[in-house]
């Protein structure tokens, strides 16, 4: 700023060189045009080249410094120059000065002339400029805000966007908006807010100039003009003051200016038209010119009515609202709308006001609309009349299309096709069927309801019957259609050809027949159908010897019998017959009664073809499959459909599943399945049943033997362990005398009388019952007997065991052994004589284990308990280890310990009951090879 002031102060000094040569311009005046933001400068001078400077007065910011060539007005002698300010001139005060220039010489500056802005102290209120400006889309614009005295500026916003403001003076701030978008309906708000929240604002309307186009003028009444145009682009200027204003040939278009219409009228035709569309942003001028007769656009006919209606015609009449139309050569277009009967017809004539509508259909509801145009120099169709409804009268129906079909030699049925709307000429109320023959003529007609389309016929055997059928509606009866019963011809009596469909249709051709004076009839009906069959037929002129039965009347997969008859005055004569499918499909059902029969290693499969209605195509053959787990193996393809059996040879004994499928040209059916199990012969049975198990058993024995041999050390320890000698203090090594091993009365081995048993075996010494009992008696009465102490103690042990009910008790097994006295001897549980001897030693060893010996119990009680235990446990041989036995579990750690002869228990358990060993230890050892 300071630099600028220095420059300004120096500026006059620089021009001192020219001083005195050029006079200073005089009478500079400033004339602002505030809405246009222009400042006009006028002055007097003899020069024509001037330097101009314009400042924002308060801060002396130079906004213009330009040299301009301005000639004086020859009348007034004044120089005039206009400057357009980008800033509204109200925003702040503007000052201007001028000097004359000639080449490098300049005059002194004229005195500063100033126009005050609205930010002078005298105007203390807040303002914003410009107000309500209308500008085009994309333009740039500067807004200024003058804050109130003693208030401070805060912010300015354009719409919702806060803008960066520039200070122009003490109270004035400005923003510049570039490329403005189109405004909304009520313009774009620009607001200014002060620190004291004083709100000041302005509205700017940003839009487009008019975009109207396509002016066209025409006449509706052959006198006046109506000019219309397309509105074009929306100007986006909604406010009344900025809307587009229209004038047509200089006259205001009031309706268009109110935005109600886009046309403008003139009472007279002027041949040349100019429409001017103007809004604050621009002007558009549209022109058109034409002769009146070239632009006739007729109004709609009024009072359309029908003056006469018949079944096949009607007379339509209307009038015109413009009298001048009566002399106009015009063309009128009638549009008739009816279901499937719509049509358009043109009529012409001067002042046309009525026409006769021909070729209508009876009993039809027509809707008529009418529009007209000038015939000469046709411009466009006039407005369309309101729809008018016409209902034509009924008429007698057309003759029926009749056919007769014989089911047998003495039954038949006459058929007729329903009449279409065009042929019925009114809703049918029924049919009348009458028949006559040569013998009896004129039988009473039979009435048939309108929903029926056939009637049964019983022909007379002696002569042909002629049947006449007529349709009736309220207008009357149709012409009767007659047909004579043809001779019945069964399929078996004819050579029926096979007919193949072509694209779902039957293409037929036959030899011409001279007797076919009335042409031919082609009849098609589902094969095998009788009674109320869907019979269809078509009558062909005699000149034609071919016909195509369309797929519309055929069903795919249905076998049809197609017959061609020659028609003459008499009965129809059958010429040719076919059977075929319009389109073959795969059979809907599989072959039936599929059965297998075995002969040795062969199987004969036989079946029956499916019924014809399920074949859905000509059976071309059969395929035989062998079903495996996931797929079918083709065994045979029988291409002859008459062959309905197949022999499968060389099957080995096993179970088989066979699938038989019939196939047409469309493919195979789902198939029928049959299972069969092929048995082997006797020699094979023997081989498989005896030798194979023997072989397996032999192999098992060899494996067991090898295993036992490999583990022989372990086997020996497990089943024949070494019994260690007792270690006792004193000299026990040499007894005083031989040990008496007389069996105890309570020996665990009871000998039972068994005649089959061989008692001569070594090591077994039966004890007589009597002796045992007597000794028991002795024990009972004489507790102080002189029996050796060791044996007596043994008895006490046994007696204690007999009282124990605990199976887990160590004496339990001994008790069980005692119980064995009541059963037969089991050799497997008896040790060798060496072992028996050991057992005797064991008997001497036991007292070491038994610390307390209870008194002997009475024998009777013992007997009872003994028997119970015997029943419960039985004899358990030493080698009979049972892993699942609780006792076995408790002593698995005792393997290798000495055992009692009379007990399966180890005499010296290696582990206590509190520390049970895993039950699989010995088995694990066995597998690991430990001994």
């Amino acid at each position: 700023m300071k630099m600028k002031e220095m420059f300004m102060s120096l500026l006059p000094l620089c021009n001192v060189t020219g001083v005195g040569e050029l006079p200073v311009p005089r009478g500079l005046t400033l004339s602002p045009d505030l809405p246009a933001q222009t400042l006009s400068l006028t002055w007097q001078s003899d020069s024509s080249l001037f330097d101009l400077e314009i400042f924002h007065t308060e801060l002396m910011n130079v906004v213009l410094n330009e040299t301009v060539a301005v000639k004086a007005d020859p009348v007034t002698g004044l120089h005039s120059w206009t400057w357009h300010s980008p800033l509204p001139l109200e925003c702040t005060s503007h000052s201007a000065r001028i000097r004359a220039r000639n080449q490098q010489s300049v005059s002194q500056w004229s005195p500063l002339q100033t126009i005050p802005g609205s930010d002078i102290p005298e105007k203390s209120e807040s303002f914003m400029f410009p107000q309500d400006k209308v500008v085009p889309v994309g333009s740039n614009m500067t807004f200024c805000c003058i804050v109130k005295e003693k208030d401070d500026f805060k912010e300015m916003m354009y719409g919702r966007q806060e803008m960066s403001a520039t200070r122009l003076s003490r109270r004035t701030y400005a923003i510049t908006v570039t490329n403005q978008p189109a405004s909304g309906n009520t313009g774009t708000n620009v607001i200014c807010c002060s620190q004291r929240l004083t709100l000041t604002g302005a509205v700017v309307f940003v839009g487009y100039p008019p975009g109207d186009e396509g002016l066209v003028c025409e006449t509706r009444d052959l006198a006046s003009a109506e000019c219309s145009w397309k509105k074009g682009r929306d100007t986006r200027l909604r406010m009344k003051r900025s809307r587009t204003k229209y004038t047509l040939n200089g006259r205001d278009c009031l309706e268009a200016n109110e935005r109600k219409t886009w046309w403008c009228g003139s009472k007279v035709w002027e041949e040349s038209w100019t429409l001017v569309a103007r809004n604050p942003l621009g002007t558009v001028q549209l022109t058109d010119s034409a002769q009146l007769t070239d632009r006739v656009h007729l109004l709609a006919p009024v009072n359309v009515t029908v003056v006469e209606v018949e079944a096949w015609s009607a007379t339509l009449q209307w009038s015109w609202s413009v009298a001048a139309y009566k002399k106009l050569e015009m063309v009128c277009q009638l549009q008739l709308f009816a279901h499937e009967l719509s049509s358009t017809r043109n009529y012409s004539g001067p002042g046309l006001s009525s026409v006769v509508l021909e070729s209508l259909w009876p009993d039809v509801d027509y809707t008529v609309t009418l529009r007209c145009g000038s015939k000469h120099s046709f411009w466009k169709w006039g407005n369309e009349s309101a729809p008018y409804r016409i209902h034509t009268k009924m008429d007698r129906p057309d003759a029926l299309d009749v056919w007769i079909r014989m089911d047998s030699s003495n039954t038949g049925r006459v058929f007729w096709k329903p009449l279409s709307m065009r042929k019925s000429h009114g809703a049918l109320v029924g049919y009348e069927v009458s028949q006559s023959s040569a013998e009896e003529d004129g039988r009473t007609p039979v009435s048939v309801p309108p929903g029926n389309f056939s009637y049964p016929i019983i022909p007379n055997n002696s002569s042909d019957i002629t049947v006449a059928v007529a349709a009736r509606n309220p207008a009357g009866l149709s012409q009767p259609s007659t047909v004579t019963t043809p001779a019945y011809r069964a399929d078996s009596q004819l050579s029926v050809s096979k007919l193949l469909g072509t694209n779902g249709s039957f293409v037929l051709s036959w030899q011409p027949n001279l007797n076919a004076s009335n042409g031919y009839a082609v009849e098609w009906v589902p094969t095998g159908c009788s009674g109320l069959c869907p019979v269809d037929w078509k009558k062909v002129p005699e000149s034609d010897c071919s016909f195509t039965v369309n797929s519309d009347s055929l069903v795919a997969g249905v076998r049809y019998t197609v017959s061609v008859y020659s028609l003459s005055t008499g009965a129809p004569t059958l010429l040719q017959r076919w059977q075929g499918y319009s389109q073959e499909m795969i059979p809907s059902q599989s072959v039936s009664e599929l059965s297998p029969s075995q002969t040795g290693s062969d199987v004969l499969l036989s079946w029956k073809a499916t019924a014809m209605e399920h074949q859905r195509g000509f059976i071309r053959g059969y395929t035989v499959y062998l079903a495996n787990a996931a797929h079918l193996d083709l065994i045979a393809n029988i291409s002859d459909p008459e062959v309905q059996s197949y022999r499968v040879k060389g099957l080995s004994p096993s179970s088989y599943k066979f699938v038989v499928k019939a196939y047409t040209s469309a493919g195979e059916d789902a198939g029928s399945t049959v299972d069969i199990k092929i048995e082997m012969d006797t020699a094979d049975m023997l081989f498989v049943g005896i030798l194979v198990p023997l072989g397996i058993m032999f192999c098992c024995l060899i494996l067991i033997s090898i295993c036992c041999y490999k583990k022989r050390e372990w086997v020996k320890k497990a089943f024949y362990p070494e019994i260690p000698g007792p270690k006792v203090p004193g000299d026990w090594s040499s007894p005083q005398g031989p040990l008496d091993v007389k069996p105890s009365p309570h020996s665990l081995v009871h000998i039972v009388e068994n005649p089959e048993r061989d008692f001569t075996k070594e090591g077994l010494f039966p004890v007589p019952e009597e002796e045992e009992e007597s000794e028991n008696d002795n024990i009972e009465v004489d507790t102080d007997s002189d029996e050796p102490a060791l044996l007596r103690y043994y008895n006490q042990v046994v007696g204690d065991g007999s009282h124990s009910n605990q199976v887990s008790d160590s004496s339990g097994s001994s008790t069980a052994s005692v119980g064995s006295t009541q059963t037969e001897i089991t050799y497997a549980g008896i040790q060798s004589p060496t072992s028996s001897q050991g057992a005797c030693r064991g008997g001497g060893y036991r007292p070491q284990m038994q610390s307390v010996a209870g008194p002997a119990e009475p024998q009777i009680e013992f007997e009872a308990d003994f028997q119970d235990d015997a029943l419960n446990t039985g004899y358990k041989p030493q080698c009979s280890w049972q892993l699942d036995s609780p006792e076995a579990e408790n002593f698995t750690g005792s393997l290798g310990s000495p055992t009692s002869v009379t007990s399966s228990r180890f005499l010296i358990p290696e582990s206590s009951e509190e520390k049970p060993q895993p039950s699989n230890t010995w088995f694990h050892n066995f597998l690991s090879g430990k001994s």
Partner: protein, 193 residues
């Protein structure tokens, strides 16, 4: 029969006051919604609420004493509001035309109609014996409008905002006063019975 006739009258009066109060409540909601719609159209009003003097003052009617007089007091203000609203509609239609048929324009018409009904019903209540203020002279749209028009569209928008504020204020006052009026009438009827 006389007793029946006497009992009908209070019921009718009470119903009329109650209906007027309900209508005032409804109108208050309408006016609030109308201002919301106007703020949606002129978005700056949501951020910068313009200040300024009240458009409708009660200089015509000094301190009201009874509830009935308060009803008359509020009715005078509502009449003034009605005049302002009609001026507003005329100005907006003239400026914008009748092409715009949005929710704002529709509700603006509804408020005018309901305000007319409220003025009519409160007038009927006051004719039943309550005095109230003398009727204020009808507002002429030209009063003060020239200044608004001269100062541009922005000033007109601010003026419209103030009119809507006045409508909200006075319909709320009417709602409360009419409710009080109805309660007092109801209490008097109870005492009589």
């Amino acid at each position: 029969m006389e007793g029946a006739a006497d009992s009908d009258t209070p019921v009718t009066e009470r119903s009329a006051a109650d209906r007027a109060a309900a209508l005032a409540r409804l109108l208050h909601r309408d006016c609030t919604r109308l201002l919301e719609l106007y703020k949606e159209r002129e978005s700056f009003l949501s951020q910068h609420a313009p200040g300024g003097e009240r458009l409708v003052t009660l200089a015509l009617c000094p301190e009201a004493l009874s509830t009935g007089e308060q009803v008359g007091h509020v009715r005078s203000a509502l009449r003034r509001c009605m005049g302002l609203l009609e001026c507003l509609i005329v100005r907006e239609v003239e400026e914008m035309g009748e092409e715009l048929e949005g929710e704002y324009e529709s509700l603006r018409k509804t408020v005018r109609d309901r305000l007319g009904h409220l003025l009519h019903s409160t007038g009927a209540l006051l004719e039943e014996g309550e005095g109230g203020c003398p009727p204020s002279p009808p507002l002429q749209c030209t009063e003060g409008q020239d200044e608004v028009e001269a100062s541009g569209s922005f000033a007109a928008k601010i003026w419209t905002y103030r009119v809507l504020l006045e409508l909200i204020h006075w319909t709320d006052s009417a709602s409360q006063t009419l409710h009080l009026f109805h309660s007092e009438k109801h209490g008097q009827q109870q005492q009589l019975l």
